[in-house]
Every structure is written in C-alpha cells, then in structure tokens.
C-alpha cells in the first residue's frame, strides 16, 4: 500500500508526533547471558506486557530490548553483585542519556529515559550477600533512572509471573511510586504484603500519581527531578526528604 520510503518516513514521524502530544518513556533493557527478559503474561486471553501495564495507567512506555549478551563475570564464592558493580554495568552499557531528549521544548512532551538490566547474580544488602533475599533494585536515587532484577533469585528464575511483576514494580519505583501505593494486590504491593492474587495493574492511588503529578515528580531522569519519596501526597507514606522545599508541585 505504501512505498518503502514512505513507511520509513511514517516510522519516524509517528513516534515523534506521538511524543509531541504526550511524554514518552524509553526503557533501554539489557540482560546478561543465561537470563531471559520477563515473559509477557496472559490475562483473560490477552497478552499483558510491560508496555500495556503502563499504557493502562496512561504512561507511554517503549521497551527496547537492547544488549542480550552481557557477560555475567562470575567470581567463585561471590554470587552477589554489589552496588558499585551495578554502577559499572550502567556506565558500560547504557546508551540512552540520563536526561530526557526531545524536539519538544516543553516538559509535557519530553521523551524520558530509563535503563534496566537483568543480572545473573544475587543482590547485596548492608554490604553483605544474602542469597534469595533481593529481587530488584532501583537506583540513581536522585534521578530514579536505572533498575536491575536479580535473576539468580529462585523466585525470579522460576516464576515468570513474579519476575514480570517485579520488573513492573521496579519501573514503578523509577516513576516515584512506593510500596504504600500498593492496595494489597496491585503492582506496587510488596510480595510479602499481598492480600490476594496479584494483578498486573496499578492501584487507583498509583494511577492518580501517574496521571496527575507533574513530570519532575514522576518521570525517571526528569530535569530537576524530585528524588525518590519527594511526593508528599497520600500515596507516599514516607515523609518529605527536604522539608524546607515544601513544593506543592508534587501534591
């Protein structure tokens, strides 16, 4: 129907115009060899992906599966990856800028960037390796723009639904969502706090945040981003980190 050159033009123009109308988030998603990306889930016969979960909450999330062959660099007796090592992973493999890029000069139509990696290790906590304890981490505490899922954890490796949910949960943190935004079954509810079958959906409180709070309060890597927990409305139970800056923007 269309000539190849016209199709190429469309493939460029349509996303650009889409991002001019609403803000988009590009997720650059890498994984180590020996791991897989989180599998799409099926609910009522319909495929649920990371994109559809966020789209359902009004966020345009474009997942770009990028590097799939990062070497795990295994060390005998040391199965945990430290925060410092995760930092090198991001430094060495992240291509997208930490900050948004867009032809659009306004905050509401930026393309924000997020980096994620599936690592074939356990995670560390308190400077110590505690196997089977950590499922995921979100970092760049100020910009909220990177996350990792720990594939070595049995829960992640063997339970596709939990793996998918953990990934969506970590991305939720990058959007400044908190465990207190969970409602017992939704994405931000911690596994230990589930009161029913988990659903691949954000709670009403989360959706309110994603829909109504300004860009710097929710988008990962936003310029002058509010750090994690800066939102002080009902959905964030923790107190304001810098109370002298009682910004109402994030309320």
């Amino acid at each position: 129907m269309f000539t190849p050159s016209f199709r190429v033009l469309l493939s460029i123009v349509v996303p650009v115009f889409a991002c001019l109308l609403v803000s988009c988030v590009s997720l650059e998603f890498d994984r180590m060899t020996g791991t897989t990306f989180p599998p799409a889930q099926t609910v009522n016969g319909q495929a649920v992906t990371l994109g559809t979960v966020f789209n359902d909450a009004g966020i345009s999330l474009d997942v770009e599966e990028d590097d799939t062959a990062i070497q795990p660099l295994n060390i005998a007796q040391d199965e945990c990856i430290s925060d410092a090592e995760l930092s090198t992973l991001e430094n060495g493999h992240r291509h997208l800028s930490l900050f948004p890029a867009s032809a659009c000069p306004f905050a509401f139509c930026n393309t924000y960037h997020l980096y994620g990696a599936v690592v074939d290790h356990y995670g560390e906590v308190l400077d110590v390796c505690v196997p089977e304890f950590i499922l995921g981490k979100m970092w760049q505490g100020h910009t909220r723009s990177a996350f990792a899922v720990f594939y070595r954890a049995n829960t992640i490796r063997t339970d596709g639904a939990a793996y998918f949910r953990t990934t969506a949960h970590e991305i939720g943190h990058a959007f400044n969502l908190h465990h207190s935004d969970g409602d017992g079954t939704s994405i931000m509810t911690q596994s230990d706090d589930l009161t029913g079958d988990p659903v691949y959906r954000f709670s009403e409180q989360s959706r309110d945040h994603l829909a109504n709070h300004p860009g710097q309060c929710k988008f990962p890597g936003a310029v002058a981003a509010a750090p994690f927990t800066w939102v002080i409305n009902d959905h964030a139970a923790w107190a304001h980190p810098q109370e002298e800056l009682t910004i109402t923007d994030c309320q």
């Binding site: 995921g136 981490k137 829960t155 139970a237 923790w238």
Partner: protein, 330 residues
C-alpha cells in the same frame, strides 16, 4: 462478728501484697511508656557511635529494635534505609529537617521475622552520603533520629528513637574537598560509601591526594581503609567487561597504614575480616586466625555484626574453620 487477731494477720498480709503488686505494676507501666515512645511493644534505639565528626568524615548509624512487650511481634529482619524498613531523619539549626535517602533502593522477599519478648534486631549502615549528597554537609550541630515503620502502620504509629546529637567541625578545610559537588568529589564520596569501585578513578585520585597531603587527618584512615577493602576483593567491572582479581599484597599495605582504633567499630571489624581473608590468600593462616580473633573480640557477641562474619566466610570458607577454632578455645 469479731475476728480473732490470729486469723486477721493473713488477711492484712494479703491486702498489703495486693497494694504492693498494684504499686509495682503501675511503676512498670509508667517505665514502659517512657522508654518506648510511639509503641508499647517495640522500642527503637539509635547510636551514631560518636558525638563529633570532622566535615567529610563517614558516619554510620546503629539501630536496634527491641520487643519490650509481652507477645511476639513480626518485624523487618533487615533494618536498612535501602529496604525502607528504617528512615533516618536529620535536622540542625542551619538546615531544616530532611530525610536521608540512600543511593539504591532494594526490594526483598521474606523480609519479616518474629521477635519474641526481649529479643531484638539490629543493623549498622552508612548515613553520610546518599541520593541528596552529603548528609552532614556543613559544620554545625545536628540531631539524628531513626524511625521504624511497622507494616501497614500509619504515620502516628511509626516508632521513633530518641535523637542522637552530632557536632560537625571543619578540620582546617581537609574534608571540604569531598563536598565541592565536582564529579571527582562525588566519585570520592561513592568510593568511601561503597569501599569499592575501580571505575571511580577521579575519586580515588582525589582521596590519594588527601591521604598524601593530610596523613594526620582522620579522613585519611577512612580513605586508606577503602583502598584496602577495594583491593581485598575481586571486582566485576562491566564498563570494561573484566574481573579485576583481588590483590592482597597492596591491600594489606593499605590496612597496615590505617589507624584502626580511630575508626567506628563497624569498620574496625570489616578491616579485621578483610585482613583475615587476605592472609588466607597469602598463605598466612596463623595470622589470619589472629585477625579473626580480633574481629570476634570487637564483635563481642553483638548480633548486628553477624552478617559481616557470614559474608567473610562465604568469600573465604577457610575462615569458617578459624571461627570454629576460636569459638572452641577458652
């Protein structure tokens, strides 16, 4: 009816006992309320280890959650700002109250443990540098408070510790170089925080300069320890796609230059455990046992350091035998 004095005596004693019991119960109740603000069953304490810091000096918080009630309570087993179980609030006359935010946030499973009456969970973690930069970023007097949030608890139910006071002094500008906000100072701060990080070359250079120019500064000991600890373990550097193997000879040289007694207990134990691991690698098992014994003495049975010993043995299983030997010795 007139009772015989002999039969009245036990009744009087009974009444005295009842009154005494009521009095003691009331006293106990008053004491409990005073000692556990915000909760009748859990008490949170915070220890900063020192009341005085130099500007740019790393600071570590020890928090302990004790079940002072009569029934078991379910609590978070790892008290760490990264997991969100604990929040550290800081205020001073020169800076309004703010909350310490870690660089990384952690999601875990099986996070709860049942705490029997009288039992406690405790943890030590760094609070000097996080997502908002340096916590004690200018000289002055600070008040630090820990807050524990029970699962599903509203803000009014948070359990708060008493405030710990910390005074920060500028030691002739030595630490100011770590707080400039430059990329080198940020890297140096992360290197002190993680005590690891081959990629943080500019930060390591800054710290090397600090050690050279101000060897007497307490900051020099933290830097030397970080250099030693970094080299004592292999490091996965994904930026270059290679593992840098542990290099124990230079690591031990750094450790020997550290004035260990100037460091917080948490770091003293870390140093002794890393020394022990390196000494095993260097085929000096007798000295490794001495280092392990020193670490055990510093630990003095405190549960907050148990994980550090488990980590050391995980990385160097031969240390487990050393622990067994030390434990069995009189």
């Amino acid at each position: 009816m007139r009772l015989d004095p002999a039969t009245q005596l036990p009744r009087k004693m009974f009444l005295v006992c009842i009154v005494a019991c009521l009095f003691l119960a009331a006293r106990a109740s008053v004491g409990l309320t005073q000692e556990s603000p915000g909760s009748a069953t859990l008490e949170l304490t915070l220890d900063m280890g020192t009341s005085s810091l130099s500007l740019g000096e790393p600071a570590y918080a020890t928090v302990r959650l004790v079940n002072v009630g009569a029934k078991p309570v379910e609590v978070s087993k790892l008290l760490d700002p990264q997991t969100g179980a604990i929040q550290i609030a800081v205020s001073s006359s020169i800076r309004p109250r703010f909350v310490f935010l870690p660089l990384f946030y952690t999601d875990a499973v099986h996070t709860r443990t049942a705490l029997a009456p009288g039992e406690s969970v405790a943890a030590v973690f760094p609070v000097f540098y996080g997502a908002l930069g340096w916590t004690f970023d200018r000289p002055g007097a600070y008040r630090v408070t820990a807050e524990y949030r029970p699962q599903g608890g509203a803000q009014a139910e948070w359990i708060r510790s008493r405030a710990a006071s910390v005074t920060v002094v500028d030691e002739h500008g030595v630490g100011a170089s770590l707080l400039t906000g430059s990329s080198a100072s940020e890297e140096a701060s992360k290197f002190l925080l993680w005590q690891r990080g081959d990629q943080l070359q500019a930060g390591q250079a800054l710290l090397t300069g600090l050690v050279t120019q101000h060897p007497e500064s307490p900051l020099a000991d933290y830097a030397l320890l970080a250099f030693g600890r970094n080299l004592s373990r292999s490091f996965r550097n994904y930026a270059v796609g290679k593992i840098r193997e542990a290099d124990c000879e230079p690591a031990m040289s750094y450790f020997q230059r550290v004035r260990t007694e100037w460091l917080p207990l948490f770091l003293q134990i870390q140093q002794r455990l890393d020394e022990a691991r390196c000494l095993i690698r260097l085929s000096r098992p007798a000295e490794a046992r001495v280092s392990m014994a020193r670490a055990e003495r510093l630990r003095a049975g405190r549960p907050e350091f148990t994980l550090l010993f488990q980590q050391a043995i995980r990385l160097e299983p031969a240390l487990g035998q050393s622990v067994d030997r030390n434990t069995s010795s009189p």
